[in-house]
């Protein structure tokens, strides 16, 4: 009886109760409040107007297209830096993280400056006058924006494979590609399904790219923002966000069905881990992978180069005279920058702790209500972060809990928004750990919480660190989760970046974005020093 054993451990009981209260108060309650916001007429309008129906069709099409490409790209990139052993793999591993911090709007503008009608690549190098605005450009933008998510998930799965099974297969005479197709690929299938799930949910709920690059191609997530910002219509805004729950739940169920429960895939704790060989890919394949990683990295870095260029020249895209004036102007937003680093750091800690607790209790302890906890933890991924923010603004303004205007509401909103990712990362890592390891710890007399900290945590620390890094990096640049929650006392740099961009001060916006980006990575380096190299290395391996 695993249940009773888990419940005898006082630490886990407390953790369980705290977790349930947290999820109830900050996931279920705000969503329920948001669900009650739209009037029946809003739903009627949503389901009958051709504009909304077109937006739904577009959302569906874009999600399918981008999910396939982003997942594949992330897998290939991850394969390149792990099994492919491309030269400079460590540097290549950092690039996707860089992409995650790129703040909305400035990143989008850099994208148009590279690939737009007057783009450096499209117009300058290729002499084309093409428009990226539309479904094609959006597809490309979404693929690039969300491949890092697939990369992070697939890389940790590929790195954990060890190599014993591949070695055995090669020993039995299978060719390299056959080994990949029949051993490596099936073993990482759960990670691929997981990556697809997150790419799909992210594409569905992203509003920055469609707003800037979608052109006439409208999707639902943009409507969540514009119905509120442009018309002050909270009802339509909430309805547009809530309708995304339906496809999200379908995707969620599909991923479940595809993966199944998985001792099949457990590789950590199998015998023979670590016996790998370093020629998993043939030299031509390795070259192709290196070229692929190189092209992706160059494009990502080019986008940052354009932002840095914008920050250091007089008028972005018009006057290239060097100046430090924009950096000077941006550095005056000290309070905004400080808050933009402190809140995500707190949120990331909260997110990492909750991810570990949730995953361990659901997967290893068969805690009461486990399926409900599982669903509540993953639920925030299914709705646009803008709606999470809106739901918080509606729910925690006045009784019973008044958090409006506090830093706490920002921290919790960020933590909740990124919880699904952290949770699934830890779940995936746990799935690779054979339950026999827990049994061994128990047989040796360890309590469940001791097993968690001394046995499980060291093995899944990479995933926990990844949860932290992801929440911190994304939280630093985010606008969607916080735009309805910032207050007089808690200004955030990302919102200021939007404000600067809206009034045409693109260079100031780029300067502030650059400062934020540099400090975010400096912050990560500091955490790495504090938390110790080994704990942290796993996330960046």
């Amino acid at each position: 009886m695993r249940l009773s054993r888990a419940l005898r451990d006082p630490f886990l009981v407390v953790a369980y109760l705290v977790l349930v209260a947290f999820l109830g108060l900050f996931v279920v309650y705000p969503l329920a409040r948001a669900a009650l916001t739209p009037r029946p007429s809003d739903w009627a309008k949503l389901l009958s107007s051709p504009r909304w129906i077109a937006a739904m069709e577009h959302t569906l099409a874009m999600t399918v297209l981008s999910t396939v490409t982003a997942t594949a790209m992330g897998y290939a990139y991850a394969y390149g830096v792990t099994k492919g052993r491309v030269p400079g793999a460590r540097l290549f591993s950092l690039v996707p993280f860089l992409y995650l911090v790129s703040p909305p709007f400035v990143g989008g503008l850099a994208f148009t400056l590279l690939l737009g009608r007057k783009g450096i690549v499209t117009h300058g190098l290729l002499g084309l006058d093409v428009s990226i605005y539309g479904w094609g450009g959006l597809w490309l933008a979404q693929t690039l924006s969300f491949f890092p998510i697939s990369f992070i998930i697939c890389r940790s799965a590929l790195a954990n494979l060890g190599g014993a099974l591949e070695t055995a297969a090669r020993g039995m005479g299978a060719g390299r590609f056959r080994v990949f197709r029949t051993v490596s690929l099936p073993l990482t299938a759960p990670a691929i399904a997981q990556a697809a799930l997150f790419c799909a949910l992210s594409v569905m709920s992203d509003f920055g790219n469609p707003m800037l690059i979608g052109g006439r191609y409208r999707v639902l997530a943009t409507e969540v923002y514009t119905q509120l910002s442009g018309w002050a219509d909270a009802g339509m805004s909430a309805a547009a966000g809530l309708i995304l729950l339906a496809p999200a739940l379908v995707v969620f169920a599909l991923q479940r069905a595809a993966t199944g429960a998985g001792e099949r895939y457990a590789t950590v704790g199998s015998r023979g881990r670590g016996i790998g060989r370093d020629d998993d890919v043939s030299p031509p394949a390795r070259l192709a992978l290196a070229a692929f990683c190189g092209i992706v990295a160059v494009f990502v870095l080019a986008q940052f180069a354009v932002i840095a260029y914008g920050a250091l020249t007089r008028i972005w895209s018009v006057d290239g005279t060097f100046t430090l004036a924009h950096l000077g102007a941006a550095s005056k937003y000290g309070r905004e920058i400080k808050d933009s680093l402190a809140f995500p750091a707190l949120a990331a800690s909260l997110c990492a702790a909750a991810s570990l607790a949730s995953a361990f209790l659901v997967q290893r302890c068969r805690a009461p209500l486990a399926p409900v906890i599982d669903l509540a933890t993953i639920l925030p991924a299914a709705i646009p972060h803008t709606l999470v923010g809106l739901a918080f603004a509606i729910s925690f303004n006045g009784k019973p809990l008044d958090l409006a205007g506090s830093g706490a509401i920002l921290v919790v909103a960020m933590a909740v928004s990124y919880l699904p990712f952290g949770y699934r990362a830890v779940m995936a890592a746990l799935a690779q750990v054979k339950p026999s390891i827990d049994d061994a710890a128990a047989a040796l007399g360890a309590s469940r919480s001791r097993a968690l900290f001394d046995v499980i945590l060291p093995i899944v620390r990479g995933a926990v660190a990844a949860a932290f890094v992801f929440a911190f990096i994304v939280g630093t640049g985010t606008m969607s989760a916080v735009i309805f929650l910032v207050s007089f006392k808690t200004p955030l740099a990302s919102v200021t970046i939007l404000n600067l961009a809206e009034m045409g001060s693109w260079s100031d916006a780029a300067a502030l974005a650059s400062i934020l980006c540099v400090l975010a990575f400096a912050g990560l380096a500091a955490v790495r020093l504090l938390a110790g190299r080994r704990f942290f290395q796993a996330a960046f391996r």
Partner: protein, 340 residues
Amino acid sequence: MKRSIIIAAFLAVLVSAVPTFAKGSQEQQKAQEKELLVYSIVNEAESKLFGDLFKEETGITVNYLRAASGELVNRIIAEKDAPKADILLGGPASFHIQAADKGALATYESPVAAQFPAYAKDPDRHWTGFYVTALGIGVNEKRFKEKFGDTPLPKTWEDLANPRFKGEIVVTDPAASSTAYLFVQTQLQRLGWDAGWSYLEKLAPLVGQFPSSGGAPPQLVGSGEYSLGVAYVHALATYREKGFPVKLIVPPQTAGEVGVVSAVKGGPNPDNAKRFIDFVLSQKAQTAFAKESLTVPLNPAVALPPGAVDVSSIDLIKYDSKLAGDQRDAVLARWQKVVK
């Protein structure tokens, strides 16, 4: 050993979080006399300008929060029972009326506004106008020349609907923004319902994209992504002043917008709020704001700043905002079919 370090680290993080969690209530109690909280729809630089000048004049510190008009109005309505702000600054009267209808705005008739034109004052005394701007056409002359050679620049709304301009025009999406809706209504009101729709049906296929944000057309035209864009003249003028190659055209029969200020009902600093409204309407603040925003000041004592477009020289239609509000659903529904 390692376990205790990790637990200690998490505890440290949680403890450090406590002040953040307590922050809200503490700072509410601390609300001092020398403070004013402004929800600002005017842009970042303009908000800061008002704040700095007001502090200089009165010693009262202005904390502002800048965001899109719809969002701030929604906040004020949501916070009605426990108001967090004193002032709603900027944006068209229609948004302020939305908040007033929900009972979220105070009434105040500033003595400074005595000389202001009648259209700048709310009959119900909720809001007072402090600037005027109008819809215009922005042209990126460089791109326009490359694309269309010696074709003359469009001078009227009719010129804009020239089939040669296909794919080179940006107009904000009326379903996403009230300012873009103003453009659609302007056409319907100046030409009449049927002729207005045939104009829009002619224009819509020429438009390259309909962005959601009102700030997008000046940016897309300024950076040379498109040749022509419809936007507020002051927004276009700001880009021009920053050095972007934008030329401003104000076609005849356009529509204007009066930007207004109002006080939030039950805000934490009601007396400071009144002083702030008086200040915003004063000659000094109006002069500085007009210079920064290139809008037209409403205080008759203030001269028009160089670079701004004089609204009195503009041929404005008599815009019926009540009709515009009543027709909204019908117009937007028909618009969907036109855009398709």
